[in-house]
């Protein structure tokens, strides 16, 4: 019966073994000892049965049965226990079954996806079903041997830079510098062979990861690896296609464009898709040696590189290979003027050569995180090889264009030189043409002056510079420069002190280069042409030769034009002098005629009445008195007229003398007021004076100032009607006195005002005619004011009145009385009333 149980179990076990495949192998193993024991017991029992029939005793049989029963029971217990164990093992086995299914699912998604990023994203999501994490990172190896962060899931750190190189830290393959700061305590890293990279998981739970988890990750990675490889292959081929496209594009530009800038723009644009860089430049060696020139640079000043900079390319020339590095570049450009060098910045320099002839270099600069490895070098070299012929071509075209431009300039200058007669027009054409083909921020043309150490600037362009404008005179080149000129026609200075004929002000306008060529014979040039530039290396010998050619071309024309201009100038001067003389002559004739008329009338009256008196000796005293009065009046008039004429003659000959003394203006005004009383009374006119109460001391010629005011008051009296008011006011303004004389007379028309200050002008109207006078008073008054350093002005409205004002400098303080000067002024005041300071010899000499 227990056998039946055992066999049933066995059958069940075997059945389940068959049904459950390998999973039930555990049950088989568990039941096997039990079955073996049962079989052994049965064999023993059969053997013992044979023995019992021989002895016929039941005791041993009972004993044996008991033993057998016990063994059987033990076997049954063992089997039961084993089956329990097997059942438990089965549960465990079915869990790992689920896990395997999940792992398979992770692999499935990756196999047909071509986008690495998407593969990583799905993976990071799926993997949470088997392993928990707080941060997952994927890194790949780069061509420069460093690791690059490709993907981050979960917690992100500040130092994470997707696509950036990982700053390697021991034990931190994901570049996380301080995991504990983020609360991450566990970490495991599994390699991904397909991308030559790693996956790193981190968890907040301490001890979260052990060998089982590592095992699972390995399986998981194995699952997704084929997909990743596939995607990488796809990306690489795509990159290659882009590379082809870019090179084709560059090739097209190289064949179609002849302009360097355009070619380099296409290169820069096409490369931008293929590699990470932010600045690209091209440096050209000069065809005839010397330093190389930066011709294209995407950011001015980076690494000290600017377009037009001169650099030493010897490094590239010697190695003729690719140079790359970090921080300071081999050209040594970062030393002066450039930005501070970023130690992490990458640079690469690829030679640009055509048929083993070095043209220059392509220089690339990239931020510290970028890659400038072998692949990039290879790509740049291919680009360089492709554009080199085009660049050579463009260089040749540029040279050819320059030559054509130079020919055109020479032709234009030649045309101007042969057709223009004016120096300025020839030089203008020269300046325009030179500016179009040579570096030039300032152009100066000068002409020598015979017998002078100076040259005159006849044409200048560029920034204004006081002291060197057109018409200014600047020193000729020094002896040393002359000696330099003896050997050549030209002086060339680059980035040095600009010498000699260039005023120091050039430095203020920032001119650093200078080239000057003499016009004509070196020993005796007729002038100089000079060009200046802010570029310290603007000029070379080819410029000098060109300028010398131009100088030779224009010199004969300039000489010719100069002669012509001098002749014109001379003729003009003669014409002008002639006209002046004629005008002066006419004026003199008019003056003489007027003067003689004015002089003869009173003379006629005087002599006529004297004759009458002599003839009529018996006439009464009363009649004689009338006649004498007429004679005296006319004699006075004749005297003042002669004084006026003398004054005018002196003014004309600049011989009118001013003898300043210090006097009180207030007193002078009082004196004049008294002197005019009688004259004013004759027309019932009233003089109103306004003078400050404070004493005004003035240092001036008292008699001349008196004459000045007298002339103005007489005019006011003459041209005002009966009973009119005349105002005389004096004011102090700083160190000047200002005097105003206002009348209500007939005024002066605007037309007449224009010629008021010419000698012997007298407004043509009846009152003026009747008033008499010479018309010289105003001219004399103005001259006196001006001789004192003051001025005189007149404002008049016809039929309303005239205001004449003048001011005189010389306000001073009360003088210490000097008896000698006092006596002298007394002597002067006692001079002849008619001719107070007549000096005929004086006039005769100066007039």
């Amino acid at each position: 019966m227990h056998l039946g149980v055992g066999t049933a179990r066995l059958r069940r076990s075997l059945r389940s073994l068959a049904a459950n495949d390998g999973a039930d192998r555990f049950r088989l193993i568990a039941y096997a000892p039990a079955i073996a024991i049962i079989l052994a017991v049965l064999l023993v029992e059969l053997g013992l049965g044979g023995l019992r029939s021989n002895t016929g005793s039941w005791l041993p049989l009972v004993e044996v049965s008991g033993v057998l029963g016990a063994v059987l029971a033990g076997a049954l217990w063992f089997g039961w226990r084993q089956s329990r164990l097997a059942a438990r093992a089965m549960t465990v086995l079915s869990d790992s079954e689920d896990e395997r299914r999940t792992i398979s699912a992770i692999g499935i998604g990756s196999n047909w996806d071509l986008d690495l990023n998407r593969i990583f994203a799905r993976f990071s999501n799926d993997v949470t079903t088997v392993i928990k994490y707080d941060r997952l990172t994927i890194t790949t190896a780069r061509s420069d041997g460093r690791m690059q962060l490709e993907f981050v899931a979960g917690l992100k750190a500040t130092e994470d830079e997707i696509g950036g190189a990982i700053v390697s830290i021991a034990g931190s393959p994901d570049g996380l510098r301080n995991p504990t700061n983020y609360g991450l305590h566990s970490q495991m890293t599994v390699p991904i062979a397909a991308i030559d990279g790693t996956i790193t998981l981190r968890s907040r739970i301490p001890g979260a990861y052990g060998p089982p988890q590592v095992e699972i990750m390995r399986q998981v990675v194995a699952q997704i690896s084929p997909g990743i490889s596939n995607a990488i292959h796809y990306q690489e081929s795509q990159h290659r296609v882009m590379e082809r496209t870019a090179l084709a594009e560059i090739g097209r530009a190289a064949t179609q464009e002849i302009d360097l800038d355009s070619i380099l723009m296409v290169v820069s644009g096409a490369l931008a898709n293929l590699m990470r860089f932010d600045h690209l430049g091209v440096i050209f060696t000069e065809p005839n040696g010397g330093p190389a020139t930066v011709v294209c640079w995407s950011k001015d000043g980076l690494l000290g590189l600017k377009v037009g900079d001169k650099v030493d390319l010897d490094g590239a020339r010697n190695s003729s290979g690719i140079l790359s590095g970090r921080g300071e570049d081999p050209l040594g450009l970062s030393i002066d003027g450039g930005e501070a060098v970023d130690e992490q910045r990458l640079w690469m320099q690829v030679p640009l050569s055509e048929r083993s002839h070095l043209l220059g270099a392509i220089v690339v600069s990239a931020p510290g995180g970028a890659v400038l490895g072998e692949e990039e070098a290879d790509l740049l070299q291919r680009v360089a090889n492709q554009i080199a012929p085009a660049i050579k071509n463009a260089q040749l075209t540029a040279e050819l264009t320059k030559a054509v431009e130079e020919r055109r300039a020479i032709a234009a200058i030649g045309r101007a030189a042969s057709t223009e007669l004016e120096i300025k027009r020839i030089v203008t054409v020269v300046a325009e043409e030179l500016e179009s083909i040579m570096p030039c921020d300032r152009f100066v043309a000068t002409l020598t002056e015979s017998g002078s150490e100076y040259v005159e600037i006849i044409y200048v362009t560029g920034p204004a510079s006081p002291g060197s404008e057109i018409g200014d005179r600047i020193p000729e080149p020094t002896q040393a420069q002359r000696q330099e000129l003896d050997s050549r026609h030209a002086i060339l200075r680059n980035g040095q002190d600009i010498p000699g004929s260039t005023p120091a002000t050039d430095h203020h306008t920032g001119m650093l280069s200078w080239i000057q060529v003499a016009l004509g014979e070196i020993a005796e040039p007729i002038g100089y042409l000079s060009l200046r530039s802010k570029d310290p290396d603007a000029y070379d010998m080819s410029n000098v030769e060109f300028l010398e050619g131009i100088a030779q071309q224009i010199t004969p024309s300039l000489k010719n034009a100069r002669l012509f201009e001098r002749e014109l100038e001379l003729r003009e001067r003669l014409d002008f002098q002639n006209r002046e003389l004629q005008a002066a002559n006419a004026a003199k004739s008019r003056f003489l005629s007027t003067v003689s008329h004015e002089l003869k009338t009173p003379l006629t009256i005087i002599s006529g009445f004297v004759d009458l008196m002599i003839d009529d000796g018996d006439k009464s005293d009363e009649q004689h008195a009338d006649t004498l009065e007429i004679i005296r009046k006319n004699a006075t008039q004749l005297g003042s007229l002669i004084n006026d004429v003398l004054d005018i003659a002196r003014i004309d000959a600049s011989g009118l003398r001013i003898e300043p003394t210090v006097f009180l203006v207030n007193e002078l005004v009082v004196d004049l007021e008294k002197g005019f009383q009688q004259l004013l009374y004759s027309k019932k006119q009233k003089l109103i004076t306004a003078v400050p109460d404070d004493p005004i001391w003035l240092e001036a010629d008292r008699s001349r100032v008196s004459q000045l005011i007298t002339n103005l008051l007489s005019n006011a009296h003459k041209y005002s009607g009966q009973g009119a008011e005349i105002r005389l006011s004096v004011a102090v303004e700083g160190d000047h006195i200002a005097v105003l004389i206002e009348d209500e007379g007939i005024g002066i028309s605007e037309e007449d005002q224009k010629q008021l200050f010419t000698a012997f002008f007298r407004a043509d109207n009846q009152v003026a005619r009747e008033a008499g006078g010479t018309g010289l008073g105003l001219v004399i008054a103005k001259s006196i004011a001006e001789l004192h350093g003051g001025d005189l002005w007149l404002n008049s409205v016809e039929n309303q009145g005239t205001t004449v004002g003048f001011n005189l400098p010389g306000i001073t303080s009360e003088p210490v009385v000097d008896p000698v000067a006092e006596a002298e002024s007394l002597r002067l005041s006692q001079r002849s009333r008619l001719f107070p300071d007549a000096d005929w010899d004086d006039i005769g000499e100066t007039a």
Partner: protein, 139 residues
């Protein structure tokens, strides 16, 4: 007694000439400017006019032209008085019909002599003309 018209804008000159000529026995009248000449000549009917050249309103040449343009006054002999004495002025005066000129300043007795001579020559001219007319009539 011959009558003389003095034309000058200077009152002193008029006074001087007036007294000189009165003393020589002429009848005198005055005009103060060129524009007064013609009316004065018509009303005063002088035997001779002394005409100043430089006058304010109408100068002597214009006044002379006016006199010579009027048939009633064109026969009156005119002596110009001038301080200018420029040859062209004299030429102008003569071409306009002035008989003679007196330059300022004149010598002692010059005015009387020139006036007398002028009057005499005009008188002679008249006599000769009358004589010629008479002879023509006779023949």
């Amino acid at each position: 007694m011959n009558k003389i018209l003095i034309v000058d804008d200077s009152p002193d000159i008029r006074l001087l000439l007036g007294r000189t000529l009165k003393a020589a026995g002429y009848g005198v009248s005055e005009a103060t400017d060129g524009d007064e000449v013609l009316p004065a000549a018509l009303s005063f009917e002088p035997d001779m006019i002394l005409l100043d050249v430089s006058m304010t309103r109408v100068d002597g040449f214009k006044a002379l032209a006016m006199l010579k343009a009027d048939p009633r006054t064109k026969g009156i002999p005119v002596l110009m008085v001038t301080a200018k004495g420029h040859p062209t002025d004299l030429e102008t005066a003569r071409s306009l019909g002035a008989l003679d000129y007196i330059n300022k300043p004149w010598a002692h007795g010059e005015v009387e002599l020139r006036v007398q001579w002028a009057l005499t020559s005009v008188e002679r001219q008249r006599q000769r003309e009358t004589q010629i007319k008479a002879e023509r009539r006779a023949s």
